[in-house]
Symmetry: C2
DNA sequence: GATCGAAGTCAACACCTGTTGGCCTACACT
DNA sequence: AGTGTAGGCCAACAGGTGTTGACTTCGATC
């Protein structure tokens, strides 16, 4: 059972990389298998089919920090910094975003992440609980929009921002969406 | 030459629809031809290949309004409203965005749109010309992020916003990116 | 050392894709 | 009416895809 765990992990790592750089349809099982140095049929044996492989590769946790000790007026900056780091270090979210544009399952995964991870956090800090869903949706537009432009579309001025400048610009926007007024 | 113009246009309309709803790779020439009620080989005859067809279908003008008469503090609201209308009425930008995630040519088209249409507008209203590229990049993150969440990912809270609420929330963000301070 | 099951390989399947070339059809012009 | 040409259709090709099943190899257990 040892050897199989190793190749299982190799497949998953290769899949994440391919899905992230090529998207769901252009990432072929043959290419993933080649990256993992095994036969394509192994992928099927371990993960059933391509969709299930993607589902396994797109398992993702935003690892949102505990904000209970953060002053209310620093929330935006802290969150902006956190997301910045989270994306640079883990290509899974980029794979997810790339795939979500055409793949229903990936879209649903993103819905779940926002409902299960972003939503509760926003509900805790939003002034009026009734507004929490709208606020977390707006948060999503800015955060995903930034990731889209920086990591996928690679718009030069957005790629050119350093971490500090990005946080300085995006932070206040997030802050307003969290607990500011329209 | 008359009859051909008609089918040329039918192909283009069908292509736009398919590219918008399915993305570049899942939109097949056969499906587009079927929608246009012609043979797949006609698509090749008129547009050469799939990439050129996409290039023709993704021809796009943001039709940005003349903002010279708009007070500086109303720019964000006016632009937010304009983009809102532009997207509802023309699925071309959604096709472009969906395709850009995996298709190099579409990415370059988006780069060109922002360099050629958004950039100059921002340069005209930004307080410091040197900041203009960064400001237009930030503008892009918010605008494309909103379109992504509303029209492609269809995040429920973002879909649920009506035009008025969306402009009220997004407008000030755009305003700050245009001529505000970090 | 023989045995049994897991791990891995090979070749092939059925299908779908973009793309091509040959053929038919109908209309405008003389 | 005959003819040339552009518009349109059919059938097929070559290549790539996810997926499958039979075969081989390896390692641990008795």
């Amino acid at each position: 059972m040892r050897r199989s765990d190793h190749t299982r992990a190799a497949i998953l790592a290769a899949a994440r990389e391919r899905f992230a750089s090529d998207g769901f349809e252009r990432a072929t099982i043959r290419a993933i298998a080649a990256d993992a140095n095994i036969d394509p049929s192994m992928v099927m044996r371990y993960y059933g089919n391509k969709e299930k492989l993607f589902a396994a590769a797109a398992e993702f946790d935003l690892r949102l920090p505990d904000l209970s000790g953060t002053p209310a007026d620093r929330l935006g900056a802290v969150l902006a910094g956190h997301f910045m780091d989270r994306w640079e270090g883990d290509e899974t979210l980029i794979a997810l975003l790339r795939a979500a544009v055409t793949q229903q399952a990936a879209t649903e995964r993103i819905h779940a992440i926002f409902a299960g991870q972003i939503g509760p956090l926003v509900a805790r800090v939003a002034p009026d609980p009734a507004e929490a869903p709208a606020r977390s949706g707006l948060l999503a537009t800015q955060i995903l929009g930034f990731a889209l432009c920086r990591f996928i579309l690679k718009l030069p001025p957005v790629v050119g921002l350093d971490r500090e400048a990005a946080v300085a610009w995006i932070g206040p926007t997030i802050q307003r969406y969290l607990n500011g007024i329209p």
